[in-house]
Symmetry: C2
Subunit: 151 residues, 2 copies
């Protein structure tokens, strides 16, 4: 890693190492705040901007990318081997991934047809996950009015 960064013109530091390790250990869809909290548990002297800047750096060197769902928080998703889309639950706001190998081919075709050279694809399916559907089904009998508001 240190070597990899050097080739890109960046240095390795203790903070950076901790941030990188934590990020890659945390799995997917990490927000700055979440990573900041995590990192703080091991080194409470690390500043927020350091975490933020390193998250940006991770993206810059191609190890992750930003995911934006429009809920005001930018998430960082480590780059994976396989392209994937996201299920975004409008209730619990959790992201779940799904493979989109089959679809990518078609998106490429569509791009070509439109004289657009694609560099990345994003697919987001909004809706409700099983857990939230069950939850709502249970609540409906007692709180039907709240339902109307949320919709």
């Amino acid at each position: 890693m240190r070597e990899f960064l050097r080739t890109k013109g960046f240095k390795m530091t203790p903070q950076r190492e901790l941030i990188f390790k934590s990020f890659f250990a945390m799995g997917k869809h990490v927000s700055v705040d979440e990573l900041y909290d995590k990192v703080r548990q091991q080194d409470s002297s690390i500043g927020y901007s350091t975490v933020w800047r390193n998250l940006k750096l991770i993206c810059k060197v191609g190890l992750a990318e930003e995911v934006n769902l429009g809920d005001g928080v930018t998430r960082y998703d480590r780059a994976t081997e396989t392209p994937h889309g996201h299920f975004y639950c409008i209730d619990c706001r959790k992201l779940t991934e799904f493979g989109m190998d089959n679809i990518v081919g078609q998106l490429a075709i569509i791009s070509r047809e439109n004289d657009f050279v694609p560099s990345g694809f994003k697919i987001e399916i909004q809706g409700r996950c099983r857990a939230c559907r069950d939850k709502r089904a249970g609540e409906k009998t007692t709180a039907e009015s709240a339902e109307a508001q949320r919709a």
Copy 2:
């Protein structure tokens, strides 16, 4: 329109009328600021929050929806009859639409397979549009270094 809103429990006002008309006249992917500027040209007494709230209202009644590309600005895209995805040019940041009727069926299947009940689909293809590709091709000879930075 006035009638439509009443059925939903909202009133019509001069400001609202101007905002609605302007929005639908502006085409697609409008940001609050853009609409605010536009509206201001006709009535400089209209406040920013009024524009913002009405844009939210337009979404709430189902006439538009938010589009988020992760560049920090929320855009509002009027609801169209046909589902469409977006080409997002990483250079000029313009959005271009494409139909995705063919793909929606597959996304629905994928959702079902994953026990997810979809309410909406979003597809974003990042890349470069023809214009920006041509532009870069022309610049490359004189500014190859700048190229490296941007990437």
